[in-house]
Symmetry: C2
Subunit: 403 residues, 2 copies
């Protein structure tokens, strides 16, 4: 393959000894863009994501996604022989990604200071729920708690209903993006350091999600504002909500971008009278009479089909879109034209469709080369071919459950 087809991170070696799903997401990003990512798993079952729900051919689609573009070896790191093998691999690696509770890496004889003594350039991305320090550092974490405590759930949902957790594991996923960035920043610093030193990156899943929630800290500090649940309404735009069309489909509508947008929207609905109506003329008036505004919108939208609404109100300059399920996404011509969904080869169930690599680097694009491989699929290639273990040694390690 040409240099170009291997992606911008070709040549980097990343060891992913983490478990579903925040830290492995970061490793997936690096693999998507061409790094060699070695997934190190326990021989007895491997990564938790293999056994998660939504299984196809006995393996969860979670692993088929999170394991994509990675090479898979097994090592039981409770055994000293496995630790030794891992340390040999890490001597040549650029990055180690782990998500044990603070102190556990140290207990396995893999303390950062130990690893840096062998390989000073190693970047060690440590992913935990609450970070390596502070009173909660030792707590186990699930995404539920992160989403509960970040402020996300508090403001998500309707005013007359409870706080609502998100349906997607967004805290873990955004940690993947942020972890990939932080890893590259640390590698960049290493390349500019006369001593070529790596470092430890302390990445908290909570902080990754909290960092996405905008200026709420400043708004609370300076204005005393606490964002409350308001359904799909928003303080910046009115009408702005989700409405149900005649054909039963939902559409989302926003009229931000200037006063004329709302007026042109009313005109497109054949309701020029609203443009001068005291409850509809200005944003302030509409916000003050938001129930009436939403009822008026719902009445009109309920008499038309979703596709017609989107077409008509788009022409008026409103931000309007159908609410899509994944089935709708698959059918959409724009997403097809963008190759949003690609097929990844698997060893057992044929090609698996999954999201492409984002974003597109035009000169050195990333690519989906394969979906998550079977447990230990690359043991021979790594231990036999690369590290030079003999077949006899491999047999003993296998017999003892070390690999």
């Amino acid at each position: 393959m040409s240099e170009t087809s291997q992606g911008p991170l070709a040549g980097l070696l990343v060891v992913d000894m983490a478990n579903m799903m925040a830290a492995p997401s970061a490793a997936m990003m690096l693999a998507d863009f061409g790094a060699t990512v070695l997934k190190v798993e326990r021989p007895d079952g491997g990564d938790v994501s293999r056994h998660a729900p939504m299984r196809a051919g006995g393996t969860s689609v979670w692993w088929r996604l999170l394991g994509r573009n990675k090479e898979a070896v097994t090592l039981n790191l409770k055994d000293a022989r496995a630790q030794k093998i891992l340390r040999r691999i890490l001597n040549d690696a650029d990055v180690l990604i782990e998500n044990n509770r603070p102190g556990k890496l140290e207990a396995m004889g893999l303390a950062p200071a130990t690893l840096h003594a062998d390989n000073p350039g190693l970047v060690i991305l440590r992913v935990t729920g609450w970070g390596q320090t502070g009173p909660y550092a030792d707590r186990a974490t699930f995404g539920t708690q992160i989403e509960a405590m970040s402020g996300f759930a508090y403001a998500n949902g309707h005013p007359d209903g409870p706080p609502t957790l998100p349906a997607f594991a967004i805290a873990d996923a955004c940690t993947g993006y942020l972890g990939a960035f932080a890893t590259m920043a640390a590698l960049w610093a290493r390349e500019r350091d006369p001593e070529r030193r790596g470092q430890v990156v302390d990445l908290s899943i909570f902080e990754a999600l909290f960092g996405m929630l905008g200026p709420q800290s400043s708004a609370y500090d300076k204005l005393g504002l606490v964002m409350e649940r308001q359904g799909s309404r928003a303080p910046l735009s009115a009408p702005r909500n989700v409405y149900r069309a005649r054909d039963g489909r939902y559409v989302a509508l926003s009229t931000s971008g200037g006063a004329h947008i709302a007026h042109r929207t009313f005109a497109a609905m054949g309701r020029e009278d609203l443009i001068t109506h005291p409850h509809f003329a200005t944003l302030e008036a509409r916000l003050a009479h938001i129930d009436e505004v939403d009822a008026t919108m719902q009445e009109w939208i309920g008499k038309h089909d979703a596709d017609d609404i989107v077409r008509l109100l788009s022409e008026a300059g409103a931000s309007v879109a159908p609410i899509y399920s994944i089935a709708d996404v698959f059918r959409d011509p724009h997403f097809q034209a963008r190759d949003l969904i690609v097929e990844a080869p698997s060893a057992d169930i044929g090609p698996v469709k999954m999201q492409n690599v984002f974003p597109r680097l035009t000169r050195t694009p990333g690519a989906v080369r394969w979906s998550g491989r079977p447990l230990g699929a690359d043991n021979e290639r790594w231990l036999l071919d690369r590290l030079g273990l003999s077949r006899d040694e491999m047999d003993v390690l296998r017999r003892d459950g070390v690999i």
Copy 2:
């Protein structure tokens, strides 16, 4: 300042000519970690984020956050003199970040091919809602549409309610994380390219959010699954929901991590009888009787205060956490110990509290140095001191509305 205190990206020059908020978030990430980020704004009002709601001292907290650690100059890019100045700056830059509709950069005489002729190493991060190609490329976009069409809103909310848009601008924010990573990947590729070539990065906000929504594409492809709204319930764990405590506060609870977690939770509630109850004994049974399970949980939780529930059920191994608003986040001792919130100096209203830089790079940490500066605050430093314009030239440009 020492090399260390300047962050891992010290020495990089990034030009941010984008507007609120996805692309400027990416530029903020680079600034947070030490890159010199020059924010280029229209002289008549500057970035939209300055005028967004939630204003303190006349300037929105959006700008105070998104503009942090950036230097601020004004250029009216409709004027050829401004274009020329920008091109001089870009000759020395590593990165250009923009979010015009496809073709607009070209119309301003700043086509990537033109910029690369002058500076082949430039990385050009182009952020749009739908990407540079495909049938929707020319459409204006607001976050509402992205969230509507990504599948997020479809699955967010309660089964008996409408799809629900998120309260936070998560599509824009995750684009910031992903854009910062992609920029570093392109810079990494440049450093390894014998010709030291930059490239265009085509970053779609839709794709950034869609990439965070897990293996839903594979689940739909292989299993025909479409995720429906289920409130705060989840298919992997039961009980898993948000409940209201006696003191009116809400708690989120999940019992994933093995059958014993749910059993120990019941025991902690003094309901050992449920461990062998046919509707409660197994995950399958609980999912089949989820209304009964949730009612039982709510009954017990409703008789206790949130803090006691969290303490008791945490000890049982459940994932349980209070639902926090931003006010609760500010008070939490762990977040205080982690310096989650820091104070950023401002020119006009004293220190502004905002989220810290995440994650923590232990050797070369990022830092919040200042909050978003006044419009044109760094014009003299850049145009006079750095580019060598005379005071007379500056006066003319100012008079003509070019700066």
